[in-house]
């Protein structure tokens, strides 16, 4: 995983996220003055836009937007910003999967890059969200960050997002579980467990990236 | 711009009088003068521009195309465009539907070319401005535009069901299109009075409005009431409806004569 924050300079926060074959740019603008219809009296309004690498946005992107909003909302301290707006725009450069069949890797890529962009924009968050994409193969093996070919051969795919607290050492909640394909209950729990472990190790990378960023910002 | 209360009551009382006193002194059956230009669009088969004395203006183009009516017998299409109104605005849609309704009254046989082919007429109306409900204006525009329409003369045979070829036309001979679309009139009701062609200040105070269509010496569909403003709309007695119809029956011929005399 490679993340570069502050990739764009015309927005308040941004990140360029690359993980294997997924490449996403996220920008965060806010808190800004909302339009009248967007304004919420007590909390921050979120406008999430996902733009596909190819073609115009369809219902697929709208579904992605909704899922991202669902994950991001609980980690932002929204009551700190009443009557204000935060625009989150995601541009997918490479989806790493066949868009017509899957949206696991894109979804996870979007969520992870959004977290970085939010931190870059200095929007207050209460915890971080870490996403993991997984595929369960026919032989029962679990693959994290599967390739397009592996996705195609898999029996089920899973997008998992965990809310991490306490110095990102403890998993507090599952923010998103998005599974497709054939699997039974026990597999699902195994997937969750496996994903959780991976998320915790990923979180270390997250923190390292953020620490480097902050150090750089501080000593610039 | 709305009128003041005092203006409205003055107008209303004048119009409610017996006989009514219209703000420009017209009789109940008197229309405002109009000015008409025809046949000024060489790339259309017929055209007219009609300007009312208050500056309301509408332009009509007639274009036609040869179509296979055995495939599609919808040979008359009207598009209405009102300046400064969106195509999906209420007024554009309601007027378009009214005229589609009016077009039901035309005789499609007149557009028949051969057993297989017909002329398809595309009527495009552009209302540049209207200070009162523009349907009469549009209707006069359509009438004069069609009246100025000349179509190529057919030289191939009428019976072409077995023939594969498209109809052929004379190189320069044209024949006049004989297609009469009903005229549509707007009448306004104030108390016990009904009068034709209400001006903008009259529509502002009218209790109700009436749309009456007429062709070939008789009243035809559609006839409907129409709210001319949103403050004064009230019901009216059937007697007034009768009176309105009589008014049109009596004077519509004068209009046609004037339109034809151009």
């Amino acid at each position: 995983m490679q993340v570069q924050t502050g990739y764009l300079n015309k927005v308040d926060g941004s990140s360029h996220y690359e993980n294997k074959s997924v490449k996403v740019i996220c920008s965060v603008t806010g808190p800004i003055e909302p339009k009248a219809r967007q304004e919420l009296p007590t909390q921050l309004a979120l406008e999430v836009t996902v733009r596909p690498a190819i073609g115009v946005p369809t219902t697929r992107e709208i579904t992605l937007q909704d899922k991202i909003r669902g994950v991001i909302s609980p980690i932002i301290c929204r009551y700190k910003y009443p009557r204000q707006l935060c625009q989150i725009t995601l541009q997918i450069l490479e989806s790493g999967e066949e868009e017509t069949l899957f949206n696991v890797k894109e979804l996870i890529g979007c969520i992870n890059s959004t977290v970085f962009a939010l931190i870059d924009a200095a929007i207050a968050i209460n915890s971080i969200a870490v996403g993991v994409s997984m595929a369960v193969m026919g032989d029962g093996t679990f693959i994290v960050d599967p390739s397009n070919e592996q996705l195609k051969k898999s029996v089920s795919t899973h997008a998992l997002v965990f809310q991490l607290v306490d110095g990102s050492k403890v998993v507090e909640n599952v923010l998103l579980l998005d599974s497709f394909g054939n699997f039974d209950e026990s597999t699902l729990f195994e997937v969750l467990e496996y994903g959780e472990k991976h998320a915790l190790s990923l979180a270390k990378d997250f923190r390292k990236t953020i620490e480097t960023k902050i150090k750089k910002d501080l000593f610039m | 711009m709305p009128l003041s209360v005092a203006e409205k009551s003055y107008l209303y009382e004048s119009l409610a009088n017996t006989p009514s006193i219209r703000p420009d002194g017209r009789t109940p059956y008197q229309f405002r003068p109009v000015e008409v230009y025809t046949d000024f669009l060489p790339s259309s088969n017929g055209s007219s521009r009609i300007i009312a004395s208050d500056g309301s203006e509408c332009i009509v183009s007639v274009k036609c195309k040869v179509v296979d009516h055995t495939v599609d017998d919808d040979v008359f299409e009207i598009g209405i465009d009102i300046a400064n109104e969106r195509d999906d605005s209420l007024i554009v849609e309601s007027i378009t539907s009214l005229f589609n309704n009016v077009a039901q009254g035309i005789d499609k046989e007149n557009l028949r070319l051969t057993k297989r082919y017909s002329f398809k007429i595309y009527l495009d109306v552009l209302v540049l401005s209207s200070f009162s409900y523009p349907v009469s204006l549009i209707s006069f525009g359509i009438y004069t535009a069609l009246n100025s329409t000349y179509l190529p003369k057919l030289i191939s045979s009428f019976d072409d069901l077995e023939v594969e070829e498209l109809p052929t036309f004379h190189d320069y001979d044209l024949i006049k299109l004989e297609l009469k679309v009903p005229l549509v009139f707007v009448l306004a009701v104030v108390k016990d009075n009904i009068f034709v062609d209400p001006a903008s200040n009259e529509t502002e105070v009218a209790d109700n409005g009436l749309i009456v269509s007429w062709t070939n010496g008789k009243i035809v569909a559609p006839i409907r009431t129409i709210a001319l403003n949103d403050t004064f709309t009230k019901g009216f007695t059937p007697k007034l409806l009768q009176e309105g119809i009589k008014l049109i029956e009596k004077y519509a011929n004068d209009i046609v004569r004037a339109l034809e005399a151009l």
Partner: protein
């Protein structure tokens, strides 16, 4: 002529070319100009008033001060509009042929309330911008001498609301050319008992008096902005023309000049009386007769006919046109173009005759 409708075939410049019938011009041929006769006429007229068009050099003499309708670079003064050059003292300006009404201080205008705002009304006077009528610039019920209170601010709509017509005087102009109005005289205020009509403002000539009592018991308020109100003559209207008003000196007629001091015409007690709520009433007088309404209609049509013929509108012309219009017993026939033209021609001829007579 049909009594039902007149439909005429359009004439004028829509189809035929007014300019020239030969259809093409060569770009490298410099002498395509108007036919001789026209050119001659140009020269004659040019002598009277110099016509300039945008971008044209008006003068290269630096002595002139540059007024409206011009711009300059170094010594050169150019025209920015199409119109006639006017030189007043050392001020050079170009008067455009057309344009919206531009208010001047002291203008008597008729306006329509467009918006009720914070302590002010916005009034449509047919200008480039709405005029402003401040709450403090109107007479309020209870006399002009009382203070405006907060409750007045809250009930501004009960005095004047959107759509209401009023006549007023332009009190001052703002930097951007928009007008501030006042109605602090009894001859100004809400308009009732009549009919509104509108003509191009260029047809109204600024004069001392813009309210006239006309034959037939009709009073006209000829707004300088081209908005016109025709109404039944009221007692007030009559009082204004009564000798009493005249006694205070010929210059003190009901003109804009003395309008801030209405007590010369009306006693202070009358003023108190008139300043009651009634001045903002929406009710018309109950006794407007049919013949009165017909007279008002006839005047309205006569004015439209004058405007149609682009004849300047004055009290004298309205009256003489009104008299001439009696030849048409059917008032409705006055909306016909031929009749309007005939009426216009009558007026011009009558004036020529009179001119010759003198």
């Amino acid at each position: 002529m049909s009594e039902v409708i007149t439909i005429v075939k359009g004439k004028g410049s829509f189809q035929q070319t007014p300019l020239s019938n030969d259809s093409r011009y060569e770009s490298d041929d410099e002498d395509v100009y108007m036919s001789d006769s026209e050119a001659q006429q140009n020269n004659e007229d040019l002598a009277k008033s110099q016509i300039v068009t945008p971008g044209e050099l008006v003068t290269d003499d630096p002595i002139w001060m540059r007024g409206h309708g011009t711009y300059f670079l170094d010594n050169m003064t150019y025209s920015s509009v199409a119109g006639t050059v006017s030189r007043v003292n050392r001020l050079l300006s170009v008067t455009p042929l057309r344009g919206r009404y531009s208010p001047e201080t002291g203008d008597h205008i008729v306006g329509r309330i467009a918006e009720v705002g914070n302590k002010r009304w916005k009034v449509d006077i047919g200008g480039k911008q709405h005029a402003v009528l401040m709450l403090g610039s109107v007479n309020l019920p209870g006399g002009i001498l009382r203070r405006k209170s907060e409750s007045d601010e809250l009930q501004m709509r009960s005095f004047l609301k959107e759509g209401d017509l009023l006549n007023a005087e332009v009190q001052s102009l703002f930097q951007d050319g928009s007008a501030s109005l006042h109605t602090r005289s009894l001859k100004y205020g809400k308009l009732r008992n009549g009919l509104f009509c509108q003509v191009p403002s260029s047809l109204i000539v600024r004069s001392k008096n813009h309210t006239h009592n006309l034959p037939g018991n009709v009073t006209i308020v000829l707004g300088v902005n081209g908005y016109i109100w025709l109404r039944k003559t009221s007692k007030m209207d009559l009082a204004r023309d009564s000798p009493m008003a005249g006694s205070s000196g010929s210059a003190n007629g009901p003109t804009g000049a003395t309008s801030l001091n209405p007590t010369q015409n009306v006693s202070i007690t009358r003023l108190e009386e008139e300043s009651s709520w009634q001045i903002y009433s929406d009710e018309n007088d109950p006794d407007i007769s049919n013949s009165m309404r017909q007279t008002v209609t006839r005047y309205a049509n006569v004015i439209k006919a004058l405007a149609y013929c682009e004849i300047g509108i004055t009290q004298e012309r309205i009256i003489s046109a009104y008299e001439a219009s009696m030849a048409y017993p059917n008032i409705g026939s006055l909306i016909e173009r031929e009749n309007m033209e005939a009426l216009g021609a009558d007026i011009i001829n009558a004036e020529k005759m009179r001119g010759n007579g003198v």
